[in-house]
Assembly symmetry: none
Homo-oligomer: 313 residues x 2
DNA sequence: GCGCATTTCGAACATTATTTCCAATTTTCA
DNA sequence: TGAAAATTGGAAATAATGTTCGAAATGCGC
């Protein structure tokens, strides 16, 4: 995930040897000369949390008392390690902060912070919203870089879709289908990023024989269109942050005219929420600022299908 | 949460997640008199993550632009907030660190760190702890009939994306980027199912500062638009089977006028293939006749990104 | 029990993160 | 449209966190 930008700030200029005042003439290049490092024992610094766990549990390394204490604590409380400061971890593990640093160095890390990154990444990954992202820093173009970006975009799409597995408001979804199916005419509204979703929904609705109006604001007549809406009609609005499009204004008009309002949006802060009879939260991940629409489209299709089925009953 | 909303007849059945009991306790004396704090507005500093979420979603607080941005980010990425530093959070949310501090203070916290504690506690609490078992198989059967369709649609999207991992023509992709980047003006063409893809590509191109024309056939002037195309321009055409739209006809005109033609389509049988300088095959899966657009959009975004990068060199 | 090697401790130090403050900007209201 | 208020960006100041290093303690073999 944000590996690039993040670990850069962390690790650079951090090398332990670099602080020695010039003039001592110490050879600092040689790693693990004095301190017993695992590299000397044929190990390599674990790059992921799982690797670290494997090494810890392998039992091949025999630690002295305090360091063993540390190993056990890391094993049993990864969450605390990820979320606390070195002092807090030391306290809970019953050791000194410096012991933690030593422990990290034995494994070849620059320090505790370096080791902690592993835990943070792990926790982030096992969290529902683990998304694909990238810092703005690395825009250097390489032939393979385009492919890399495609991979990132696919990752963002996958993350968006995964979020639908977790907590999706199926109750709200069903209500929404009801209300849309009951409507005389469905107005589909969505601008900017939401416009592709709106067009696809409108198209598939039509293909299913469900009459609908795509409010596309061609000729700037969107407001006039919406001003014709009736009480028995419904608006399906799609809107994402930042909420600076005309969609909220259009929906406000429809709301005044007492049409049913159902909304797909990405947070409770959407101005559409308070105008809506029903709304669904669909959060899309982005990669380098390019947002996926995969989840919104999937939900949109599901709505269309639901309405079509309901109408045919 | 939305309990505070005026007694409109339309407040039932809202709320996506069905989360958050709002249990704000007693009113604590307001410490700050200078900054506009919520305490002054009759609120008290939320003591748990759930309380904070409740306040955020209540909609009773109206934030200015940047602060709203913060609220949305906190809402959508609690994990990142818990695990990152203030600078990292600020970067990802697109605001200044100081804005985060200000935000925290409005709610009565001492600073960002204070607020962050809430997020840390929350994450800690929702962690299995001790275990690292990754269980992706959340097959809750409560999804009902409509939910089943959503699952199918998500599956189709995933399948489409997975196809990009396998055999994707990166060479053709790079050529395509070159040709689009070299063009004076890019015409984006796509009808029916391909139209959402075309609109999103056009939008993001514009956002990247790449001038382009979306040939949407409003006013039936698509042919006249294309008839103006020059030798140094390029057409980005998107077309899927059945190939019965006007896209091939439009592209044929552009081809005669010797513009570069690059195409995203779903088989070698597409009439666009023989008209194109370069083309990419992107196959979308469908579920119950509803086709995903996930892969096409991902490829489209990658193209836009590639062109933007190439142009900025 | 003695001396050597290893481990641990804890305070001094270096680095990084957070907060504060003020000027610049935008918005609001008359 | 202009003045006042509110909001925001940015850098300096402050606080916190992490790291280093020498001295003390511990364990171990002889």
């Amino acid at each position: 995930m944000q590996g690039g930008a993040r670990s850069r700030t962390r690790t650079e200029g951090m090398n332990a040897g670099g602080k020695v005042p010039a003039g001592t003439g110490r050879t600092e290049a040689a790693p693990g000369k004095k301190a017993r490092s695992l590299a000397a024992l044929g190990y390599t610094k674990p790059r992921t949390y799982e690797e670290l766990r494997a090494v810890l549990s392998s039992g091949t390394v025999h630690f002295p008392k305090r360091l063993r204490q540390v190993a056990i604590f890391l094993w049993q409380h990864p969450g605390d390690v990820a979320l606390s400061t070195i002092v807090q971890v030391a306290e809970q593990a019953g050791v000194q902060p410096s012991t933690l640093v030593r422990f990290a160095k034995i494994f070849g890390y620059a320090g505790f912070s370096d080791l902690q990154e592993l835990f943070k990444d792990h926790v982030k990954g096992s969290l529902p919203e683990g998304a694909a992202r990238e810092g703005p820093g690395n825009d250097a173009a390489e032939t393979g870089e385009h492919g890399h970006f495609l991979t990132g975009m696919v990752g963002a799409s996958r993350a968006s879709l995964a979020r639908l597995d977790g907590d999706f408001d199926f109750g709200g979804f069903d209500t929404m289908v009801e209300q849309l199916a009951a409507a005389e005419l469905i107005y589909v509204v969505g601008s900017k990023r939401a416009f592709p979703v709106a067009t696809y929904i409108s198209l598939t609705l039509s293909q299913q024989g469900v009459r609908n109006v795509l409010v596309d604001n061609v000729g700037s007549n969107a407001f006039d269109q919406v001003a014709c809406i009736g009480k028995r009609d419904a608006v399906l609005a799609i809107s994402f942050s930042p909420y600076n499009s005309i969609t909220p204004d259009l929906v406000a008009v429809a709301s005044q005219r007492q049409a049913r309002i159902v909304t797909i949006t990405d947070s409770t802060f959407s101005p559409l929420v308070e105008l809506s009879d029903t709304w669904l939260e669909v959060v899309e991940s982005d990669f380098a600022g390019f947002r996926s629409l995969a989840a919104s489209l999937a939900v949109g299709m599901a709505l269309v299908h639901g309405v079509a089925v309901r109408r045919s009953e």
